[in-house]
């Protein structure tokens, strides 16, 4: 255990991004019967769904925060809110101390450029009719960061080199690249505006194993070189274990556990985290006979009563079905939301 009192004050990293009571609700698309009723003037209220429910956490400068959870649990929605792509319906995101929804002028520009997103599907996020050089030059032009042709060319070439692509590729179109190369182009496009914060939404999920390793190495190298902060969204825990300093586990819109990476992997506190850790496929598990977690993640339209995980939880009790657990700090920097930890 480190004695924090002996550390210099500047060793404590600053908070760059803070989420307070962050929520996002989506109106559910009405089903056919409901649309018909609307036509005859009897509009039933179409229930909405909460994709993200009351999320609080802070991201510190220079850290890699891993965000993990099953499909549909709200990871991308959270990522899109903190990059300002969609507004929250409750709570707030602050970037360097200011609420992003109230930003104007230079502060807004700093945020828009400073926080960039990298998407899962590198192909869908690149305009097929633009050459790579144009794709990379566009953010520079749009934000007025460079107007001079030679300057743009120089910065495009620097970005390509930085992500490990040959500068001659600037004249090619996205379809002429492999998946891994396209993801590098996506990363170059994000980097060209010199951001300090990257939201990476499943950036390697669509790539082959050998290419995944190359792109992970690129993320690690860029982080070291540019002192970047990452929110790294992934469903692959072995990748998160490799790259993240801290990990947040999400279930049905809520963060159920958050801890330094080493601790969460060595000693998961939430039953859901434990379950996820047991499922990691590994070449070390041969012909394993394991108990898979039962059931599927419930629909956010009808979240279960009490603790949302109770229908799948091997430890659930009557209290779990009735009462939602609150988030507690069980050790410095470790929070968990589960009745099993109420006693501490």
């Amino acid at each position: 255990m480190l004695d924090t009192t002996t550390q210099a004050p500047d060793a404590v990293p600053e908070t760059v991004m803070e989420l307070r009571g962050l929520e996002r609700e989506f109106a559910r698309k009405p089903v056919l019967a409901e649309r018909l009723m609307k036509l005859v003037g009897k509009a039933p209220d179409t229930p909405s769904l909460k994709a993200v429910r009351s999320v609080d956490f802070a991201i510190r400068e220079g850290e890699v925060l891993g965000l993990v959870g099953e499909s549909g649990c709200g990871k991308s929605t959270l990522g899109r809110m903190i990059t300002g792509i969609i507004p929250p319906t409750g709570g707030a995101v602050t970037y360097q101390g200011a609420d992003i929804s109230a930003m104007k002028g230079q502060a807004l520009k700093d945020f828009t450029l400073g926080v960039q997103m990298i998407f899962q599907d590198p192909y869908a996020s690149l305009n097929p009719r633009q050459r790579v050089g144009e794709i990379l030059a566009e953010p520079l032009r749009v934000h007025g960061l460079a107007t001079d042709k030679a300057d743009i060319r120089r910065r495009v070439d620097a970005a390509l080199t930085e992500v490990g692509l040959d500068t001659s590729y600037r004249d090619r179109y996205p379809h002429q690249f492999s998946g891994g190369q396209r993801q590098r182009i996506g990363i170059a496009r994000a980097l060209i505006v010199e951001p300090s914060f990257l939201v990476c939404d499943e950036p390697i999920a669509a790539l082959d194993v050998s290419i995944q390793a190359q792109v992970i190495n690129l993320f690690l190298a860029l982080r070291a070189k540019r002192n970047l902060t990452y929110l790294f969204i992934s469903h692959d825990l072995s990748v998160v274990r490799h790259i993240a300093d801290r990990v947040a586990i999400m279930y049905l819109g809520k963060i159920v556990e958050m801890a330094p990476a080493q601790e969460i992997f060595a000693n998961p506190a939430h039953p859901y985290t434990r379950t996820l850790l047991e499922q990691i496929p590994s070449v070390k598990n041969r012909k394993r006979h394991f108990e898979a977690v039962k059931g599927e993640i419930p629909s956010p339209h009808k979240p279960p009563s009490g603790c949302a995980f109770h229908p799948r939880c091997p430890m659930a009790t009557a209290r779990c079905r009735a009462e939602a657990p609150v988030t507690r700090e069980i050790a410095p920097g470790r929070t968990v939301s589960c009745h099993l930890h109420d006693a501490n």
Binding site: I211, S238, R241, I243, Q279, P281, E296
Partner: protein
């Protein structure tokens, strides 16, 4: 489990070649595939995307359409060459003795038919059954693959089910007629790890109970390790290495296998660079001369650049294709 190679073969693939035609020529997607599947075994077929895993699966079942063409080889099932069979007998065999599970359940399921209708169709195509017996068999099979409230599901449409549930239905359909060989093409790749492990656990049980041989295609060595008795590694349309799961994972002989094993996180400490294989797999029309892996191989020599290595073996079913295979000492 005993070494599957001591059992009887159920399916023997010899020199199978499939090419895709385009304006510039015919490009082999699988070159000269040799593969024996033994009774009741699970064979994991791994490789990067585009290495020819799916084409291999489709070609075994004769499911190749233009611009593709099977140009050489034999597929022996119970002593008969499937490539010599007429389309009608082949169609009867597929879905009965030989069945395939595809990566995307929506390509298998018909969106306008209920689950019950599709299952019924799959059974009646392969023999008569009265309505009530048919219904029971559908319900039993759905229960086997872990589907809750199977009676209700029979009257539901595919879009009313989650992705995991749809994949289970596809597996149920593949199992309906007690096949002897199942080819499963990345059936869990699109699913969450939690659902993936449920399906792997169920496949393990079903396969064990039914004694069917299973070819499990995946790009994920971790997934294959959990299921397979043997592993075959594909690269650029060739099986570059094959052996028991322990042999391949603990003592890889091909540098590509070694590279794949090294590139997954786990062995190097967190935050350190992973050992990566440089470059990427070649497209069909740009297969490198000599060993197709040579541009990415750290061990490549002039020999590798000029001649494609022939398969070599230990005589006991362990095969590799490399001029400079990794020795046991190096692998340790």
């Amino acid at each position: 489990m005993t070494d599957p190679r001591t059992r009887k073969p159920v399916l023997e693939v010899e020199g199978l070649q499939t090419v895709f035609h385009d304006l510039e020529g015919a490009w082999p997607a699988i070159n000269a595939l040799d593969l024996t599947i033994y009774e009741g075994e699970v064979l994991g077929l791994v490789g990067e995307s585009g290495s020819g895993k799916s084409v291999a699966g489709f070609s075994i079942l004769g499911l190749i359409d233009t611009p593709g063409e099977i140009t050489a080889g034999r597929v022996l099932f119970q002593g008969k060459d499937l490539r010599e069979m007429d389309e009608e007998s082949l169609r009867k065999l597929r879905g009965a003795d030989l069945s395939m599970i595809f990566q995307d359940p929506l390509t298998t399921l018909n969106p306008v038919l209920t689950i019950g209708e599709q299952m019924g169709e799959a059974i009646t195509e392969h023999g008569q059954a009265d309505a009530e017996a048919l219904r029971r068999r559908c319900i039993d099979t759905l229960t086997k693959v872990g589907i809750t409230s199977p009676e209700e599901r029979l009257s539901q449409y595919p879009h009313e089910l989650s992705g995991g549930m749809r994949q289970r239905v596809v597996i149920a359909i593949a199992l309906l007629n007690s096949p002897k060989v199942i080819i499963a093409d990345e059936p869990t790749t699109a699913l969450d790890v939690t659902i993936q492990s449920q399906i792997i656990a169920e496949m393990q049980r079903l396969q064990h109970d039914s004694g069917a041989a299973l070819i499990w295609i995946s790009h994920d060595l971790g997934v294959v390790a959990e299921l397979a008795d043997r592993i075959a590694v594909m690269y650029a349309g060739d099986i570059v290495e094959i052996g028991t799961t322990d042999e391949v994972l603990d003592r890889p002989r091909h540098p590509y296998t070694r590279g794949l094993l090294d590139s997954v996180p786990g062995d190097v400490p967190p935050g350190e660079p992973l050992r990566q294989i440089e470059g990427s797999a070649p497209p069909l029309n740009a297969r490198p001369f000599g060993c197709p892996f040579h541009p990415r191989c750290a061990q490549a020599t002039d020999l590798c650049r000029s001649s494609d290595p022939a398969p070599q073996g230990d005589g006991a079913g362990r095969i590799w294709r490399c001029h400079h295979p990794i020795t046991a000492q190096e692998a340790a």
